[in-house]
Each structure stands twice: as C-alpha cells, then as structure tokens.
C-alpha cells in the first residue's frame, strides 16, 4: 500500500566529504542525495507557503573550519541516474537560508514541490560563494523537509 509521509534531509545525508572547496566564479557541487529503491523523494512538505503556518521549512548555514560563515547561493537540482540535469528546483541566498536555527516560523517556507524523484535519481546541491573558501562539512548545518512516498507492492 503506497504511503506518503514526512522526512528530512540533513547535512550528513548531503555533504559526505570532510571539506569542500567553493568558489566565487561558479557553482560547485557540495553534495548529493541518491534515491533508494521503492520510494520517491520530493523536496518540501505540506501545502502552505505561509511564513507563519508552513509545515515544510528549509534551513542551512555553511561555515569554514574556524567556524566562520561563508555567504553565497545554494542551488538544488534534480538529476537522472546518468547525471543528466532535469531541473533546477530551488535557489536561495544564505542570508535567507540562515534565518533561525531554532524558530521554524522564521525559516523559509518549503511546501511540497511537483517533482518526485525515484530510484537512482539524485538531488544535487551546488554552492556559489561570495568569495573563494573551504567549507568544513562538520561545521555546516542543513535541514530540509521532504516528502517521502513509498511505491506500491
């Protein structure tokens, strides 16, 4: 019986390397999530995009080894199993992403999106920094609400 339920993607799911070099001139891939068998992942959760009422939220902060925040732009894209781009799903500045670590009503509303990715498809995460830098994964925080939908059978 197909089931639909709330999930989350966090930094350990996305950024698996200890450090990642990011640049001011271009988007650099900082991580990816490959979907497993028997399930669809959709970015976002719930229907509301209201700042106060949204059930789904996205929060992220990227930092160096110091730790010092690295400002820039995060972009999330959907890819096929053979690494062909399907669509850019989301893009946001770190000033908006790093709103509040604890108060969800201040975080960016993130309702359920249209694209559901299945087995072997990937969400890829890219970052374009304001200045060249090195991200330390352990000092970065990413929390993204997602919708998980199990396939029937």
């Amino acid at each position: 019986m197909p089931q639909k339920y709330r999930g989350a993607l966090t930094r350990p799911d996305i950024m698996t390397d200890a450090t990642v070099n990011v640049f001011a001139s271009r988007f650099t891939q900082i991580g990816e999530v490959k979907i497993g068998a028997g399930i669809w992942y959709t970015l976002g959760y719930g229907f509301s995009a209201s700042q106060g009422d949204a059930e789904g939220r996205i929060y992220a902060i990227f930092q160096t080894a110091v730790p010092a925040e690295v400002k820039g732009t995060l972009r999330i894209e959907a890819f096929t199993p053979d690494d062909r781009n399907i669509a850019v799903l989301f893009e946001s500045r770190t000033e908006a992403l790093n709103s509040s670590a604890t108060d969800r009503t201040k975080q960016i509303p993130f309702p359920e999106m249209m694209q559901a990715l299945g087995e072997d498809y990937k969400f890829k995460f890219f970052f374009k920094a304001d200045a060249d830098n090195v991200l330390t994964s352990a000092n970065c925080t990413i929390v993204i609400d997602i919708t998980k939908e199990s396939k029937s059978g």
């Binding site: 669809w40 229907f47 199993p81 249209m114 694209q115 559901a116 990715l117 498809y121």
Partner: protein, 75 residues
C-alpha cells in the same frame, strides 16, 4: 350613483364597471403582480442554491487535488 363605462375594444359595446368589478380588476392585477414577483424570487433562490451546490470545495481539499494533479514522478 354614476357608474363608469368602458368600451370593449373587441365588440365596441360599452360595459358598466361597478365598484365591485373595479375592485376585483385591481385585485386581479395585484395578484398577478405578486405572482410574478414571487416567481422571480423563487427563481433567484433556486439559482442561488444551484450556485451553492456548484461552489468549489474548501481550500485544503482544492490544494490537495491541485498537488496530486500536478505531480511529476521520475523513476
């Protein structure tokens, strides 16, 4: 008492209108007017009820249908 006379346009004959017949004519006209007005009101109420039946479902239901119909599954 003088009774007003009316000429029948079809026959050319004159007809006397007694007070009673005048009252009944007025009453008939008023009854016709009320009937038309009542029919219009009933008709508009029926139209309103029809539009209520056609009213869209509540926003949450509509949003659920929207997302379900707009989903794109890859893989």
């Amino acid at each position: 008492m003088k009774v007003p006379k009316v000429i029948n346009p079809l026959t050319g004959n004159s007809m006397s209108l007694s007070p009673g017949s005048i009252l009944s004519l007025i009453g008939g006209a008023l009854l016709l007017l009320f009937s038309i007005t009542a029919a219009q009101k009933i008709g508009s109420k029926v139209e309103q009820k029809t539009s209520l039946l056609d009213f869209s479902p509540d926003p949450l239901t509509r949003a659920e249908v929207k997302v379900a119909n707009s989903k794109a599954y890859f893989g």
